[in-house]
Symmetry: C2
């Protein structure tokens, strides 16, 4: 599929999709004229990439991580190096702390919202 459709289906801007390619996160074939041509699996991959960005990982880490993820079809997956595992473990702990923060902030918002509703 072409970039417009992929953008529509993933809700990610064309700009970002091109950026992902520049960061070597997302490969695309090219038409004879040079237009990007994505496989169907790109949809899932883009969604995964977005989630990882949302979780605060940087391009570099995502790039290292992607080949180690088992595809939804159980396709080929590399084994993470000890170095990468250490990095990811740190990221994991950071995400844990972030989730805890988010939950507390959500409670704070709920308190304020509820106080206004009860008023």
């Amino acid at each position: 599929m072409r970039i417009g459709e992929l953008a529509r289906r993933t809700n990610v801007s064309e700009r970002s999709l091109r950026y992902y390619e520049a960061q070597e996160l997302l490969a695309a074939d090219r038409t004879p004229g040079g237009h990007r041509d994505y496989p169907e699996a790109a949809v899932d991959r883009v969604i995964r990439i977005q989630e990882l960005y949302a979780a605060g990982l940087h391009s570099e880490k995502i790039r290292q991580l992607l080949p180690c993820m088992r595809d939804q079809d159980g396709g080929p997956s590399t084994i993470a190096t000890p170095r990468l595992v250490a990095d990811l473990t740190e990221e994991r702990e950071r995400i844990d702390r972030l989730i805890a923060d988010l939950v507390r902030s959500r409670e704070t918002l709920d308190d304020v919202i509820d106080a206004a509703r009860d008023h």
Copy 2:
């Protein structure tokens, strides 16, 4: 207490504490010489502010939100305007989606980490 101690106790840089003041998130008395003098309650407030920043709220929203929070001592709290409640409700939904993303990303990391461990 002074800014150095507050920074140490909250694990927030002095730079950020001064920034919070500029954003009207955190008030401080001044010594005759002009040094900031924080009340004990500043510790909790700074931690709250950090959590809200971590949750993706911007200074402006935090500034509007803070007076509506009930202090830990149940002190005086303003009631949020309908406009603010609408904003906060949106933020709340965004945080919900973000938490969901984070949980999925954490699972992704766990998969990769576990695969390497089992190897």
